[in-house]
């Protein structure tokens, strides 16, 4: 008898702790920068869909990939998660998220590269809602001091190298690259240079490592030479995008690659800086390129309320709602005409979007980029020259591509 009571109590306790989310309550994980706008959208959605409750849980980007992965693997995931585009394919290939082809409407309204990320096995596994690319942010005052015309920023590689040389004097570094922090920082900044020079890290069919071919090697040399020639700070090997922004705010860096999300914090922390934005310089006669980044919604396979979750994702994917939720730009072209995207400082970032490309969908992409990044660090450390470092990286990458 006593045992029975105990068992009932234990069951009740388990239900209390694990069953906080009631049936019919859609749990949505969204990062902290979305919180205020997400709450407004949730209120709107609940008014339009009586009977569906949405529970918002706020995440932080630091350590988010590990947290999401743990939740997905545990089998007790929320119903909707905001994730970066590049993470989606890993989830799809491990069967951790469900296909959302039935949720997508107006396919042709989306920037194609944003859908490329979420596609695997000719199915769509995520709905993109936010996209962004880098441009080069520069200090107009520093350009003037160095005798350069801030209204005519460099457009080609040669012009950028010349400008970086002129800008680098005393404590100021002309053009800061990244060589530290999380791998993604350096992929985002160096891979576009490889692309615009006609190269790539792996071949289009995903079978061959091409990072040691002349086009890629020339681009990597162009990138790492900014450090070799002391035009990028001495701390380059420990700098990520955030560190470069801090150095730019401290006026020891005159130009660096980043997205529009940096503009607000520069304005706030050092209002004296007259911020300029230029397209990422390209080799003469070739178009520029950028790596498209941003965020998508995924619905985990273990989500309890998939029907309701799909309804909410469909609602959030409507053009005006994407336009309201995104911190940068919406993934849908029709949402781009909203007034909040017409700020002149955003013009160049908007111009860069059509040049945005998706990173390859390879199941070993994270390890491939790690091998490439190790090569970049070997060059920056002075251990190996560019060709040798990229040969080594290509060998590591080929081994990953040959894995079944």
């Amino acid at each position: 008898m006593k045992f029975k009571t105990l068992a009932v109590m234990a069951t009740a306790m388990t239900m209390l702790t694990s069953g906080v989310a009631l049936a019919g309550e859609v749990v949505w994980w969204t990062p902290n920068f979305n919180e205020a706008r997400a709450r407004e959208l949730v209120t709107k959605f609940e008014q339009a869909n009586q009977g569906i409750k949405v529970k918002l849980e706020i995440t932080t980007t630091d350590g988010l990939p590990q947290r999401v992965l743990t939740a997905l693997q545990s089998g007790a995931a929320p119903d909707i998660i905001d994730v970066q585009h590049a993470w989606v394919n890993g989830y799809a290939q491990n069967g951790l998220v469900v296909a959302v082809d039935d949720v997508l409407k107006d396919r042709e309204d989306y920037i194609p590269a944003s859908l490329d990320y979420g596609t695997w096995n000719s199915k769509l596994w995520a709905i993109p809602y936010r996209i962004e690319t880098h441009a080069v942010i520069y200090n107009k005052g520093a350009f003037k001091d160095a005798g350069l015309d801030p209204a005519k920023p460099p457009q080609t590689w040669d012009e950028l190298v010349a400008a970086a040389k002129t800008l680098s004097k005393g404590k100021v570094s002309g053009f800061a690259i990244t060589g530290g922090g999380e791998v993604g920082n350096t992929i985002f900044r160096s891979l576009p240079f490889i692309w615009m020079n006609g190269g790539d890290i792996i071949s289009a069919d995903g079978k061959k490592a091409v990072v040691n071919q002349p086009a890629a090697v020339a681009a990597v040399k162009f990138y790492t030479d900014f450090f070799k020639n002391k035009q990028s700070p001495a701390s380059t090997l420990e700098n990520d995008g955030t560190a470069n922004r801090r150095l730019f705010i401290a006026e020891t860096v005159a130009a660096y690659q980043s997205g529009q999300f940096d503009v607000a914090s520069i304005k706030k922390e050092n209002p004296k800086i007259d911020i300029g934005v230029m397209q990422i310089p390209h080799p003469a006669g070739k178009p520029t390129a950028a790596l498209l980044g941003g965020w998508s919604f995924v619905i985990p396979s273990s989500a309890k309320n998939q029907t309701e979750a799909k309804k909410l994702v469909a609602f959030l994917a409507e053009a005006p709602n994407q336009g309201a939720l995104t911190d940068t730009f919406p993934a849908r072209k029709s949402a781009m005409s909203l007034p909040r995207f017409s700020d002149p400082i955003l013009t160049v970032f908007k111009e860069m979007l059509p040049y945005g490309r998706a990173a390859p969908n390879n199941k070993n992409w994270v390890q491939i980029t790690q091998a490439y990044f190790d090569g970049i660090q070997r060059i920056l450390l002075g251990d190996e020259d560019v060709q040798k470092a990229m040969d080594g990286a290509a060998k590591d990458i080929q081994a990953l591509l040959d894995q079944k």
Partner: protein, 286 residues
């Protein structure tokens, strides 16, 4: 029901919990290491993949360096501190408390603070050293291939030597005063007391503490991951971080499991050799 089986019933809940928390994960890791993502048996494919990666041998040697270097200095510095704190002097209580601080500070907090202090541009260490003219220009402590590992070992030593000090101090305080008195009658000086009384008496403590340090060292991930993430160019990549990267950054759970199994075997061999070598040395005070 005889006495024995009644006892078994009482320990059963604890055994079940242990099995769930330890035996199951160990067995599951073994299973993961010989299967693929879909759960199909693939033999030794995962082992081959991790062993052929260029980072694996490098991480292995880095681990030996990091653990070995850390332990030598942790034990020497910790024992010296314990002997110092065992003396009578004014303010001993305060000094004993202060010594404990590094060990009490959460690892991630300490690591992040050190990372900032060692930063090439913003770090206080370069600021003070260039300011006082010790070095002409800032050193990239964490980005120079020759300094980064020693710096990380120094941080790890700083973090854990207080633990050694406290354990050895406890051992020192249990030494009967008679031994010192007898030694003094024989005309022993301080260094002879250290060498012939203190060290032999706390030997068993040092052996046990070192074993703990080996195990912690082989598992340590916080300090290095928070400061360099294994970089630059894998100079500070140790095997536990490689396993973490494989599993949680690359979602290669099967390869991560294979590497864990290899690492477990290596760690087991090291620990067995250590226990055999030290625990069986004759002449130890029991």
């Amino acid at each position: 029901m005889d006495r024995n089986s009644t006892g078994l019933v009482f320990v059963l809940p604890a055994l079940i919990v242990l099995a769930m928390l330890i035996a199951y994960p160990v067995a599951y890791t073994g299973l993961l290491s010989v299967t693929d993502r879909q759960g199909a048996f693939v033999g030794l494919t995962n082992f081959k993949a991790v062993l052929s990666a260029r980072a694996t041998p490098q991480a292995f040697w880095n681990t030996i360096w990091f653990v070995g270097g850390s332990i030598v200095f942790q034990v020497i510095l910790g024992t010296a501190t314990a002997i110092l704190l065992n003396q009578n002097f004014i303010g001993r209580g305060i000094v004993r408390s202060i010594t404990l601080i590094p060990w009490v500070v959460p690892g991630i907090v300490a690591a992040t603070t050190w990372a900032w202090m060692f930063h090439t541009e913003f770090g206080i260490i370069n600021y003070m050293m260039t300011g006082s003219g010790i070095i002409p220009e800032p050193i990239g402590w964490l980005t120079n291939g020759n300094t980064v590992m020693p710096v990380l070992i120094a941080i790890n030593v700083w973090k854990l030597f207080p633990f050694v000090a406290i354990m050895v101090l406890a051992g020192l305080q249990s030494i009967p005063n008679d031994l010192y008195e007898a030694a003094r009658v024989d005309g022993a000086n301080f260094w002879q007391e250290v060498r012939f009384i203190m060290i032999p008496q706390v030997r068993s403590v040092i052996v046990a503490v070192t074993l703990l340090l080996v195990i912690w060292g082989l598992n340590s991930i916080t300090i290095i991951y928070a400061i360099t993430r294994g970089g630059p160019a894998n100079r500070t990549l140790i095997t536990p971080i490689q396993i973490f990267r494989l599993a949680f950054e690359s979602t290669q759970f099967n390869q991560a499991a294979a590497l864990s199994v290899i690492f477990f075997a290596v760690a087991l061999v090291i620990v067995i050799i250590y226990i055999r070598a030290l625990a069986s040395t004759p002449g130890e005070a029991k």
